[in-house]
């Protein structure tokens, strides 16, 4: 029974309406496509189906056929009879089939939902005032939407341990747990680190770590996001802020080239937590624990907040004009960063072209965990290639620059965020060389730089990154930057304008993208910043398939070289 000539679509009857849904999905997904919510706790689209919470009970029937002959059984009006299953079935564990009838709001379904809610709340402590999940709690939401509205339970509730430390970052409140097993399945299926399990039986059932193990893997905080109730809480965020105060801004994790989609939650300009944002092409619904801590760099001690000229604090405008004085008509080298956005790298490329500067790019590398932490520990290495800032694959050590410096080829260095002293440049190399440093945090290079211009972190500016699969993703400013500072784009564009004769470089994203997309050979051709969808845009990275990218096979990523061999 196909419709619209599309064989992968089937027609089902949802609450009396004929609707088309893709074949092979379950009832919860089919209903949600058509705007009907089937409440559920244990089901998660990216985990296996456990079917233990029983919240997604619906009524189901299939068209009747004679068992002997296989002919359709018709009623008096000549319409095929529907054989309704006498008891409700779970929506998560039942896939749709052609002609299937589903009732999601019959009195039996409502009765089941009320019953399940009542059982779930029997031993629930109802300590919402002190619970961090309050405000984004499925139990709260479904209790008001599908619950009975009052409690008939007069017996004393079960008492369970309240502050169990499951690992360094996760705290368990056992009383609140509804035993949905999402966290257990996540650890088994996504992280392949089997540490969690249930012990004891009936209402004594408790989530616990296996003896001698703890929930310490780098994805442990995803269990906190997965938890539909307040049982698993983040030790870092615990009791810090109620979620209804938080403003959520879509962002991209800058930890590695995996480019996890994130939501940055802030209140009055202060970031309180980072959570993953679902993107089935990039990070599913997960992100690393280490990536969640990056917000701490915004308010860290070593943040540069005042511009310095020859170690003296100065105004930003003065620092920029003295920087352009220093860069003018000099033998200049620019050390770019794979942590800059696509737009910044484009402006830097333009600056290098205008000043005939030599470009150097430093990469940062680490261990690959095969999931969402890639060996390339920068968010935008491919952006540097795509904007033409670099044609070579960057290395951690800037040996070329070191050699050129020792020969005295350069008089001035413009360094973007990188610590060049850490990458094979010695203090002796820099003797007699003027250094202009643009960056967010203090390091050895900023300490000896002649001019230090503070810039903004990814949380404080808008831009785009290209991740390991050449997925172009934009991010929005989540919080305002420190008072008096400007985004990197403004600083770079004013440097370009003061260094060239016909300086009219705009710092506006739309204008920069107009320039970026002009060339027909560019992979940005015909693109604009506002046209990047919220779940990113896949670019064609074939041009660079010959380069030795360091990333290993991981979630939603396989290295191009291996693909070609296979």
């Amino acid at each position: 029974m196909s419709s619209n000539g599309n064989s992968s679509m089937i027609t089902i009857n949802l609450d009396g309406k004929e609707v088309d849904v893709p074949a092979g999905i379950n009832i919860i997904e089919a209903a949600s496509i058509h705007g009907t919510e089937v409440p559920h706790y244990c089901y998660h689209p990216q985990l296996s189906v456990a079917g233990n919470c029983r919240m997604c009970l619906v009524e189901m029937g299939t068209p009747m056929r004679d068992r002997g002959t296989g002919e359709a059984i018709l009623d008096q009006d000549g319409v095929q009879k529907i054989g309704w299953i006498p008891k409700p079935i779970i929506g998560c564990g039942t896939n749709v089939s052609p002609g299937m009838h589903i009732k999601t709001n019959s009195s039996m379904v409502k009765g089941s939902q009320e019953g399940i809610m009542e059982f779930l709340l029997v031993n629930h402590p109802l300590d919402c005032p002190i619970c961090d999940q309050a405000g984004e709690c499925r139990l709260q939401e479904f209790a008001t939407d599908y619950g009975r509205g009052y409690s008939r339970y007069v017996e004393r509730k079960n008492v369970k341990p309240k502050r169990t430390k499951l690992g360094p970052r996760v705290t368990l409140d056992d009383e609140r747990c509804i035993l949905c097993s999402r966290c257990i399945r996540f650890c088994q299926e996504v992280v392949d680190d089997d540490v969690l399990g249930f012990v004891d039986r009936g209402s004594f059932s408790t989530l616990t770590c296996f003896p001698g193990k703890e929930l310490s893997n780098n994805y442990s905080l995803n269990t906190v996001d997965l938890c539909p109730v307040g049982a698993l809480t983040s030790t870092d965020f615990r009791f810090k802020m109620r979620v209804w105060f938080l403003k959520e801004s879509p962002s991209i994790c800058t930890e590695s080239s995996a480019g996890c989609n994130t939501l940055v939650s802030s209140r009055e300009g202060e970031i309180h937590r980072i959570t993953p944002r679902r993107n089935d092409a990039v990070n599913d619904s997960w992100m690393t624990d280490s990536g969640r801590e990056l917000y701490k760099q915004v308010k860290s001690e070593d943040r540069i907040v005042t511009p310095h000229v020859s170690s003296e604090p100065s105004k930003l405008a003065d620092a920029i004009s003295s920087a352009s004085e220093l860069l003018k008509d000099q033998k200049l080298a620019i050390v770019g960063s794979c942590r800059s956005t696509v737009e910044e790298q484009y402006l830097l490329t333009k600056l290098a072209r205008n000043t005939k500067a030599k470009k150097f790019l430093r990469g940062h590398f680490g261990e690959d965990d095969g999931i969402l932490l890639s060996s390339d520990r920068t968010p935008n290495l491919r952006g540097a290639l795509a904007t033409g800032f670099s044609v070579k694959y960057p290395t951690d050590q800037l040996s070329d620059l070191s050699r050129a410096l020792s020969k005295g080829q350069f008089e001035t260095l413009l360094v973007i965020g990188e610590d060049i002293l850490e990458s094979g440049i010695s203090q002796d190399d820099l003797k007699g060389v003027k250094v202009v440093f643009l960056g967010t945090h203090k390091n050895q290079t900023s300490a000896l730089a002649d001019i230090v211009i503070p810039t903004l972190t990814a949380f404080e500016k808008t831009g785009s990154f290209i991740n390991r699969t050449f997925h172009l993703q934009s991010f929005k400013q989540a919080v305002p930057g420190p008072a008096g500072l400007l985004p990197d784009l403004n600083i770079l564009s004013s440097l370009i304008n003061s260094l060239s004769v016909d300086g009219d470089q705009s710092a506006d994203l739309a204008q920069i993208w107009k320039q970026l997309s002009k060339s027909a050979t560019s992979i940005f051709h015909k693109l604009s910043f506002s046209s990047i969808p919220s779940d990113g845009l896949q670019l064609n990275g074939e041009k660079w398939s010959e380069l030795d990218f360091v990333e290993k096979k991981a979630l939603h990523f396989s290295p191009t070289k291996q693909l070609q061999e296979a």
């Binding site: 005032p129 002190i130 004393r156 509730k157 009791f239 810090k240 109620r242 105060f245």
Partner: protein, 181 residues
Amino acid sequence: MAKTVVLQRKPLSLSERTYLPQIVTGLKTTFSNMFKEKVTLQYPEEKPIIPKNYRGVPTLVKDPNGREKCVSCQLCEFVCPPKAIRITPGSVPEGDEEREHVEKAPQEFEINMLRCIYCGYCQEVCPEEAIYLQDEYSSSGYTREEMINNKEKLYELGGTLPDSHYKWDQKKTAEDQGNGH
């Protein structure tokens, strides 16, 4: 179009023209009040009797055992229309015998009395019955900072109120008697 009608005024009578009857009527009211009970209060020497349910300065109260009731759920901060309340949430340290099971308590609690409009929403929304608008109605100060009541001041103003639930004590009893683990 409405028509304009010009009314003719009646000419005043002799008694009306002398104004005397009107003056006498006025004086009658004045003199009759001299023999009635006084209603004026000599404030601030004399203080009015504050009725129950009066909405005075918001305060934090302790339960009859002298324990902090607020768990810093921040609902009052959320509901406060003029944004007068500011709470820094904190946790009860482990090892505190009496309060450990409550887990959460305010680290700092500030109510800006220059912003407060005495609406009483905070009292209404409080799930722990910890914040009350009591009978204190006059608050003054020389600086703006003085008008921000901190946690210490709020508990000093609030004192202790009777408690009909002892919610957390019940929880502790259940824990001690052990239903389950």
